[in-house]
């Protein structure tokens, strides 16, 4: 079945649901968000990703109404929301601590927001039942929050924040308190629920795998600024800076002087080492400082010298065995370490490389990413 790709951000006709227009947030002397502009579209699953203190939580709290804006405007569905208090916004939030009311049952927790809208009792009950079914909590409706498990609490928090059918759901590190296995399951559950309800989700996370899994687009943040906003594959394969390349996934970054050589750039990066060839849409002047970033899974490792681009000779000094794949740390003659990853596709072969082996690593000119700094 052919499906149109969901990418409203490429369509200039689409009006964004959320617009940050030159938003600045200062806490005293400290600038948490620095003249930041960002559009988020309806039905998106948008991830704000960054290290702690980068301003991602502040962005979310401004959307919820818990932080005032120092400068600029935030628009939601064609309305400037800067002066609207949290209880009047069509936005709900799922808190990192879940913030379930300990004195109320699961049922009452989910009904809490609905009751504030003074709907009639039957409508509330029907909606709560629907939410309980959606999050598979029907059995636990009568229990108190302290009588259920962490994963169930997480689902209650989700059900409660979705019950009012908000235009926008904010999720603050929603899976942070769960263990790894449950977290992975829950990621898919979140995506499922997001798709079923058609709600726009904005998620704050510092876990790059989580962001990659769930998000339609990711905004990588650093010190109150957006470094790159793009889909997960673009963020991963075409990072726009060394910061983004390093923040998502594993990478080897090599610094050198760029030089145009026909269709490709060559990076002279170390005495006695061949220049690194790299295809790039960027325009760098000759002699400009540039970086080549290469992901370990794109680096091949050989026993004999291959006839290809970017062939480097080195010695295996570390092996990280992960079961499905192995990461080799190869030290070159000049001390630089290149990471190379191999899939362990066969069960019983002896590991092809071991410590102190002399090897060759290489990658093609399309596999490395040329960056400006």
């Amino acid at each position: 079945m052919a499906q149109t790709v969901f990418a409203p951000w490429t369509d200039p006709q689409q009006k964004p649901l959320i617009e940050f227009r030159n938003v600045t947030k200062r806490f005293g002397e400290f600038t948490a968000i620095d003249t930041l502009s960002l559009d988020i579209y309806e039905r998106e699953f948008f991830a704000l990703l960054g290290p702690s203190g980068c301003g991602k939580t502040t962005m979310m709290r401004m959307l919820a109404g818990f932080e005032t804006i120092s400068d600029g405007e935030i628009w939601l569905g064609g309305q400037e929301i800067g002066s609207i208090p949290p209880n009047k916004r069509p936005v709900n939030m799922m808190f990192q601590s879940y913030a379930l009311f300990p004195h109320l049952s699961i049922w009452e927790n989910i009904a809490f927001g609905l009751k504030r809208e003074s709907r009639d009792k039957d409508a509330i009950a029907a909606r709560v039942e629907e939410m309980l079914r959606l999050t598979r909590l029907t059995k636990f409706a009568k229990r108190k929050p302290h009588q259920i498990s962490g994963g169930q609490r997480q689902r209650v928090a989700l059900a409660r924040s979705l019950a009012k059918a908000p235009k926008l759901l904010l999720l603050d590190e929603p899976l942070g308190a769960l263990d790894k296995k449950l977290r992975e399951e829950t990621q898919f559950e979140l995506m499922d629920i997001q798709e079923k309800t058609g709600t726009t989700f904005v998620i704050v996370t510092h876990d790059q795998e989580e962001a990659m899994t769930v998000a339609s687009r990711i905004a990588v943040m650093d010190e109150g600024r957006l470094v790159q906003v793009a889909t997960p594959p673009v963020i991963y394969e075409q990072p726009n800076s060394v910061y983004v390349a390093g923040f998502l996934g594993d990478v080897t970054v090599l610094e050198g002087k760029a030089r145009k050589a026909g269709d490709v750039y060559e990076l002279d990066w170390a005495e006695g080492q061949p220049p690194l060839r790299c295809v790039s849409p960027l325009t760098l002047s000759n002699g400009q400082t540039g970086y080549v970033a290469v992901r370990p899974e794109k680096v091949e490792i050989h026993r004999n010298k291959p006839e290809d681009d970017n062939v480097l000779r080195g010695k295996v000094i570390d092996i990280g065995y992960l079961g499905n794949l192995s990461t080799y740390h190869v030290e070159l003659g000049n001390g630089q370490i290149i990471k190379a990853q191999n899939f362990n596709t066969e069960r019983d072969t002896r590991r092809s490389f071991t410590w102190e082996d002399e090897v060759w690593v290489n990658w093609t000119d399309r596999c490395g990413v040329l960056l400006e700094g």
Partner: protein, 296 residues
């Protein structure tokens, strides 16, 4: 065996310092008044053996308890004590809750200081503090002098020797007992609960009534009992600040013991006071246990 020894310590403590004195008071309450030392009959004399013991028990009766029902002074004093204790508890709650709330919402580095300020009055003797209230409230006291000087009033307020003075005294004295449990309940509360309530459509006031108030309920109940129970038997505050007009059972008890030297009747008054107190004490214990279970 070790577990038994560990449990035995508090029980032994209770036996020595509560149960045995209580049995003695109960025995006195069943005796008759006598001009002797100690001023009641019969005395237990084990040297006369079994016959003496039988005679001893034969002389015990409920006469004093019957007497308490014949004079309406006593039940009026009990009722008045209950009323004063209940009203002072509500007043203490009204004053203490905002204090506790402010403390729990204060910046964390300020909380130990605020906590110490609440406890600070305990560093001075209770009696001295009550006496200083006499200095503040009396007709020529600090309060009246200041108010007259400013010109807010033209005649001194008569607060001393009225129930108002007793309320002021009790609220002042027992305020920390109200503030501390409420503070501890509020301080534990996750602030994101309030944000969650607002996020789900509550105004600030609604968030307080629907979340903060019910979550501080255990603290409120604990604080109220900690004020109500000692206030019910309070003797010093009504006798120093309340004058002759304030009837409280603690004062009656004292007068029976030391003015009338009628130990048996005084003991009967004390036994009934204890019986009245058992109800709130049991309720208090149940509240504490429920709070512990909810946390576990």
């Amino acid at each position: 065996m070790r577990r038994f020894a560990l449990i035995a310590v508090p029980y032994l403590w209770l036996l020595l310092l509560f149960l045995i004195p209580f049995v003695i008071v109960l025995k006195i309450s069943l005796s008759d008044v006598a001009l002797a030392r100690p001023p009641y009959m019969p005395q237990l004399d084990l040297s006369t053996g079994w016959e003496g013991l039988k005679a001893f028990f034969a002389e015990l009766d409920f006469e004093n308890f019957t007497f308490l029902t014949t004079d309406d002074l006593y039940w009026k004093a009990y009722l008045s004590s209950l009323k004063i204790a209940a009203i002072s508890t509500l007043l203490t709650l009204a004053v203490g809750y905002p204090i506790a709330y402010g403390m729990a919402r204060a910046a964390p580095e300020w909380r130990p200081t605020l906590l110490m300020l609440v406890i600070l009055p305990f560093w001075t003797s209770f009696l001295i503090r009550v006496y200083s209230w006499m200095g503040i409230l009396s007709t020529e006291g600090v309060l009246n002098t200041v108010l007259l000087k400013i010109g807010i009033i033209s005649e001194p307020l008569m607060i001393m020797n009225t129930p108002t003075a007793v309320y002021i005294g009790i609220v002042y004295t027992y305020l920390p007992f109200m503030v501390l449990p409420i503070y501890s309940a509020l301080e534990k509360m996750d602030e994101s609960l309030i944000e969650a309530a607002e996020d789900l459509g509550c105004s600030k006031l609604a968030a307080f009534w629907l979340v903060t108030w019910p979550l501080s309920k255990n603290g409120i109940v604990a604080g109220s009992f900690l004020v109500f129970i000692p206030a019910l038997g309070e003797f010093v505050i009504p006798s120093l600040l309340g004058g002759s007009g304030t009837l409280m059972i603690g004062k009656v008890l004292w007068e029976e013991f030391f003015n009338n030297r009628d130990w048996p009747v005084a003991s009967a008054v004390a036994v009934i006071l204890l019986l009245i107190l058992i109800v709130p004490i049991v309720l208090f214990q149940r509240n504490e246990q429920k709070a512990r279970e909810a946390e576990g």
